[in-house]
Amino acid sequence: MSNITLQFGQCGNQVGQALYNCIYEDIKSKTDSCISNKRLNNEYVKESQNLWFNVKQSGLEARSLLIDTELKVTHQAINKPYKFKNVISGSYGGSANNWAFGYTSRSLLVARDVMERLRHEIEKCDFITCLLNILSSSGGTGSGVGSRIIELIREEYPSKFITNVIVLPFQKGDIVTQNYNTILTLSKLYDVTDNTILFENDKIFEITRKLTIDREARLSDLNQVIAQQLASIAQPLIDVPFSQMVSQVATHPSYNFIQIRSAPHLNMAHLNYEMISNWTILTNQVFKSSKTDILMNPRLCKKIRYIGNVVVTRGNMSGNEIDLKRFKEKSMYVSWVPETERVVHYGQQRGMLNYQRFISLLTNSNSICNSLDCIVEDAWNLFTHGAYLHHYKKYGVDDEYFLEAFQKMENIINDYKNIEKIAEAIPSKSIFDIRSTISKYQCMAQRSMAETCSATASSTSEAPIDMWIELMKQILTKDNHNIISRMLKYIALFDYRTEKQINLEDCYMVLSDLTKGDPSKQLEGKTAQFFHECLTKLARSVKEDNHSKKEVFLDSLEPANLSTTRTYRSKVDRNGILSDTNLNPCKVPANLLIDRK
């Protein structure tokens, strides 16, 4: 069994190298304290070597690809007791902290080389358990190039198990565009890969600060903690491959974010003077640390809800020494997780590094909500002010691209927030029942749609906006249909927000009149303001497209006309409008204008 790691960008490469250092040290560690049984140790070492390295006569070669767009970090990989053979980097000058630049442009430079080397590396292995991508979501290379390459790998190897290790940035960060980059990366990779292990810099920093009391924490210390936590779950266990263990905690396709908690973290220099703690103390430490986040932001989630936990212990354990009673409490788990799957324990008699006992917890719970919410909040704040967007637009990532990413993130957060409610949505029937019901409803929906929108194209979606877009596409000439549908998209975004003061129906009405070039209706207060906002936004984006015809068209939509002129039609009854071809030139079907509450 083998794991192949792909390290992207500055952070990814630093963490990756720290991980390999950690594993190498673990293999070589010979202190009596952690090795009780010689035969066991030999087996472990052999397995671990095979898992991470290509064992050759000349020495060990890491099963790893180092990918970067500049040379400085990958250069540090040279003087090691083992070899990094696949360094794919050039002095391309970085990715400018810009996800779009990395994704669309920089990734082209390395893509072919990476795929070729990866194939070579895969061919060297007997059996691959997992492809491990290590990257940070804040920079440009890791996030942008990483996202693109991982997508390519997924296309090439559709059935391989791919896990990401993503380092989330500090909340008060070191890169201005980090939150943009993070949401773009996470939303891109969430569906592409099997699951994602998230490390939060803030939390790792807390651990590191306790380790380095005598001096100030450096970035390398942070990397080491991450490496230790990763190694503690990825080093060989008896009879259970890494991939199986990870998928045990991510049982539902909507919940793919995994966190790691572990204990103890001690300063290596002080190890001899530390009290040796027993399993109970360590278990309690881990248990507490897995629950702390929830208290930080009660607005999001009030109580911890786990989807799954895996406890890994490394070190001598006789009989049933470990007590997982605290983890087994039913109220902490989502109701749909079966009792046997809630918490699983794997033990390895050999210790790790110089620790006699080391316990780590793989957990999937709603505690991730808090940090994700902060990231989206900050990014949304930047986005609504329009800041830094021009850098992304230069490489083809426009407002709509961002909006999709935001929507995806909101959905993910919402899923975690309402973790309990998902249970209600899961029917207690067999898969065949569900399938037949779905197809039945689909048929019904399609039929009713075809009836009501006989004038327009039939659409399977029930959202009125989709029908509007379809309608507008049909009515308008090829040159400008884009505009109205885009306008509708902006309105649709508000549609999904439950703002009561805005009368979207009126907006649609005005729009339909506008296509005729004759604004008829006066909009009220907030609705008008919102409508203007949409128009100006649209105008701005159209201006950037630099399409003269569109501009002319937009000029005819001068917003001034909308608020000042006639109000006479506002009280005409709706059916009147619908039937009058003058007032309803687009033949808007009634169901689109009827109150949807």
């Binding site: 500055q10 630093q14 500049e70 400085k72 970090v73 540090q76 050039g90 002095s91 000058g93 970085g94 400018a96 902290n97 810009n98 440009g140 500090f170 909340q171 008060k172 960060g173 070191d174 890169i175 201005v176 565009t177 920093f205 600060r209 100030e216 924490a217 450096r218 970035l219 390398s220 909507s254 989206v376 909040e377 900050d378 949304w380 704040n381 930047l382 609504t384 002010h385 329009g386 800041a387 830094y388 021009h390 850098h391 230069k394 909006l403 999709e404 935001f406 929507q407 909101e410 959905n411 957060i413 919402n414 899923d415 959202a463 998209k489 649709a492 975004l493 999904y496 927000r497 439950t498």
Partner: protein, 413 residues
């Protein structure tokens, strides 16, 4: 004027500068041909002419610009072809004279047309308050207009600020060593060396390794939130030639950090941390002994101390470079994108209007073919627009747009 500070290749100490020197007179560039740096530059990268632009922007921009367009482009192309990956262009000129401001900004435009995706960094000197040329206000304003339109990042430096720094150093009676050293120095060389230090610190991330690397192109991504607000204020610390300290401890590092924020260490006469300045973007590049914990405490202090917009408070760029400048153990460079930059622009605009209202000296410009009368008004308008955008940001009240509400899975817009 010179392009990227890095050098071509090192073959047995044979180094050539990746630089193009342009001047419309010969005297300054001749020094390179004889001085200690003579091997660095060859003739292909030197473009000279006689008799100079006569302190006239129009002469440089509208006359010499088209005239030398091909020559300049070929030398740029030659230099670019030798690069593995082009990172950015670094332009240096003064905005007061004729060649620098006129031809310099013309080349800036050429670069934008020919290499649209490569960043263009401009380090330019503003002679505000110490003008030695009568047409300086015109040149300054016209150059500023071009900078606003075509540069991706501008780091303006004011002569008064540099002079103050040099004077302060001359009066520095810290120790006999420094006094002796100062006695030997020439003031102009020192002013230039301050700008050189700025450049060295700015490019440190591209030249040396560090745990948080900052490349040049990252700076423009992080510091320019809106396309037209690309003027950055720079602060340096330490400004002394060498420090007599053996090793830097926490207090000294903190001192260095605080100094970079001070008015006295800014290369512009503006108060970055003052009550009226609202900061849009910050970059702190620490060199030498700085580490991540230091930087995190500094961020917190900075956030308490200064005003930000609602979205820029958390946005900060941090760089760590392992190698300190020669003679020091630690150094820091701070870059700010702040609304108080409008004072510089206002100054430029008011000086322009003072002359232009009386139509003084305009005939020198108008007689150059290609220069139109409306250039002055257009230029004033663009600068006022820029000032207005700064003011808009100052007066912007925080507004919260509600976030997107989650929808059922897989709704694509």
């Amino acid at each position: 004027m010179s392009q990227l500070t890095l050098f071509e290749d090192i073959k047995k100490c044979e180094v050539k500068a990746r630089a193009i020197l342009v001047d419309m007179e010969t005297s300054v560039i001749l020094r390179y041909k004889t001085g200690s740096l003579q091997d660095l530059f060859d003739d292909t990268c030197i473009i000279t002419h006689y008799p100079g632009s006569g302190n006239n922007w129009a002469e440089g921009h509208c006359h010499y610009g088209p005239m030398f367009e091909n020559t300049i482009l070929t030398s740029i192309k030659k230099a670019v072809e030798k690069c593995d990956s082009l990172h950015g262009f670094l332009l240096m000129f003064s905005t007061g004279g004729g060649t620098g401001s006129g031809l310099g900004t013309y080349i800036l435009k050429l670069l934008e047309d020919n290499y649209p995706n490569i960043d263009r960094f401009v380090i330019c000197v503003y002679p505000t308050g110490t003008e030695d040329v009568i047409t300086c206000p015109y040149n300054m304003a016209l150059a500023t207009k071009e900078l606003i339109k075509h540069a991706s990042c501008v780091v303006p430096v004011e002569n008064r600020a540099l002079l103050d720094i040099v004077n302060r150093q001359a009066n520095n009676k810290h120790s006999i060593d420094t006094m002796n050293f100062i006695a030997k120095c020439k003031p102009f060389q020192d002013m230039n060396s301050i700008i050189v230090n700025l450049l060295l610190n700015l490019t440190s991330g591209s030249r040396f390794s560090g745990s948080l690397n900052v490349d040049l192109n990252e700076i423009s991504t992080n510091m320019v939130p809106f396309p037209n607000l690309q003027f950055l204020a720079a602060g340096l610390s330490p400004l002394t030639v060498s420090s007599d300290l053996v090793k830097s401890n926490k207090q000294i590092r903190e001192e260095i950090f605080l100094q970079t924020l001070q008015k006295n260490n800014q290369l512009l006469k503006i108060n970055v941390t003052g009550p009226k300045s609202i900061i849009l973007g910050t970059t702190l590049i620490g060199r030498g002994d700085f580490n991540i914990s230091d930087m995190r405490t500094y961020i917190q202090r900075l956030q308490k101390k200064t005003c930000f917009t609602s979205w820029s408070a958390r946005a900060m760029k941090i760089g760590l470079c392992d190698v300190p400048p020669i003679g020091h153990h630690a150094a820091m460079l701070s870059l700010f994108n702040t609304t108080s930059m409008s004072t510089l622009l206002k100054n430029v605009n008011s000086q322009l209007m003072r002359l232009y209202n009386r139509k003084a000296h305009t005939h020198h410009y108008l007689q150059v073919p290609g220069f139109e009368d409306y250039f002055f008004e257009e230029c004033s308008e663009i600068i006022t627009n820029s000032i207005q955008s700064y003011r808009d940001i100052e007066e912007l009240k925080p507004f919260g747009m509600p976030r997107l509400t989650p929808v059922g899975s897989d709704i694509s817009l």
